[in-house]
Symmetry: C2
Subunit: 335 residues, 2 copies
Amino acid sequence: MFVPRDIQTAARAVVVSLTIALTPAVALAQSDPLPSWNDTAPKAAIVEFVEKVSKEGSPDFVPEPERIAVFDNDGTLWVEHPMYVQLAFALDRVKAEAPSHPEWATTQPFQAVLEGDMKALAAAGEKGLVELIMATHAGMTVTQFQTIVTDWIANARDPRFKKPYTELVYQPMLELLAYLRANGFKTFIVSGGGVEFMRPWTEKVYGVPPEQVVGSSIKTKFAMKDGAPTLFRLPEVNFIDDKAGKPVGIQEHIGRKPIAAFGNSDGDLEMLQWTTLADGLQFGLIVHHTDAEREYAYDRKSEFGHLDLALDAAAINKWTIVDMKADWKQIFPGN
Amino acid sequence: MFVPRDIQTAARAVVVSLTIALTPAVALAQSDPLPSWNDTAPKAAIVEFVEKVSKEGSPDFVPEPERIAVFDNDGTLWVEHPMYVQLAFALDRVKAEAPSHPEWATTQPFQAVLEGDMKALAAAGEKGLVELIMATHAGMTVTQFQTIVTDWIANARDPRFKKPYTELVYQPMLELLAYLRANGFKTFIVSGGGVEFMRPWTEKVYGVPPEQVVGSSIKTKFAMKDGAPTLFRLPEVNFIDDKAGKPVGIQEHIGRKPIAAFGNSDGDLEMLQWTTLADGLQFGLIVHHTDAEREYAYDRKSEFGHLDLALDAAAINKWTIVDMKADWKQIFPGN
């Protein structure tokens, strides 16, 4: 067969570059996408599910646009003990803003925060908590709040691990997010936490862009101020994305049912029900905090990340339960 | 140079298939991405903007994840005369449901709809309209409503053009959506219309998936019914995504500022302000309905798609105004 020399050379170059281009892809496909997961049942269940829904011709095949996965944040993607990170943020903000609010020195629940009186703070209950949130999360523009969160998250340190909170995310879950995305899933966060508290850092930390974060919110108001458009944050609850609110938030925001849901507490029960109790193949998973040494151990009696009804429901509905101690080789990145 | 014969053959196959594979791409790149737009100022402005923000190294370069474009729907992407399509849907639903509601025969505004008495319907005002919407859009599950919309949109016909409404979308805007996406933009719909009225068909018609549709909504409630999770639609307004609500909806849903906004009425004014009045390069565009022959001609005095303040603001803020008659070669697909 005659092949002109320049075609030969060009062709060889193509073959060589194709070989080079394909090698990492092949290597990647062969390597373990979930290296921080032990080879126990949860990992096998995840891989089996992903392969079934993403393999064309499989009876459980799901077209790519419908591969929606939803993740709770607190306790599922990052630490939520000794308290929700957003609560630590609110307490820090009270301290930072106290000089402009001399009345807080003698007004609960602010006084409790400033004096570090956790008993008085607990006594203020949910009403007190809402007051703290409104005082620290409203009264500024959306842009100003983003700056406040960005600064805080860069500088705050967890009291036990002495690290930024964004480093106290779960390495196995980061791998899971990436593994799902590599298999055509769109990953969303669906959290009881404030949506604008998460958005400034979720893209960098989880690879989840702002438009794929669903969370609780306060009301905002648009106005032109001196010719500039502003969105002002009002001290009024808009939406609580927790418990029965999660399916509502999912529908409002995503507009279709997820096929995989990942949570760790009773706040995720309805999201798991909404996702998994339907025709077709779905996947539900609960992260069970069982590792007091490397992280924390808590469930039915815990205030933050209370896991009771959802743990019972997991057994009934065949949701995968991750035993952090047994199933995770590594907890945090870089350890 | 020695090249073994099997490698030669393989290489030639690769070159041939690459050539075949690349040819359409090259042809596409060289062909006009906006063939239904005349070579007038709006087309030039669009192309200039897209090239500036998507060309790496350009002083106006915007990273891909931040290339967010928002589109109004009624009057911007599809027809809104002689009435909003969703209103035609509501009227049809009243007629379809009338047998189950004998009381409607003597109750306004239902009686007006059933008797085709548009004067009495207009007299019922906004209160009457809300009653119609609630009676036809609530009282069923989200899934049931999706089925109702899907059936209706497949069978309803526009009274003037005798075509399904999904064929009365603007061909130049379909090209624009595709052109933006081909240049790394994520395209969102931000409409005053009901979000669940749009989601069943926007992916197929506009290439915009449900999670990228922002709209008005009624409240929903999650409950387990006989072991099955349901989201029930309640007759209560949740959010009005119009006028000053549009920037609010954009922030709640997308979480970052768009860099391009496309509208056609005063309902889009605040969305255009929010998008374009900021640092950096942005693009604002208003579709001006000027073609009574091929579509409709209306602006300052129209009830549907009222365009008055936003038309004045366009001149001040240098937003691009599309004169449908002069700037669009073709209005609808397939003409």
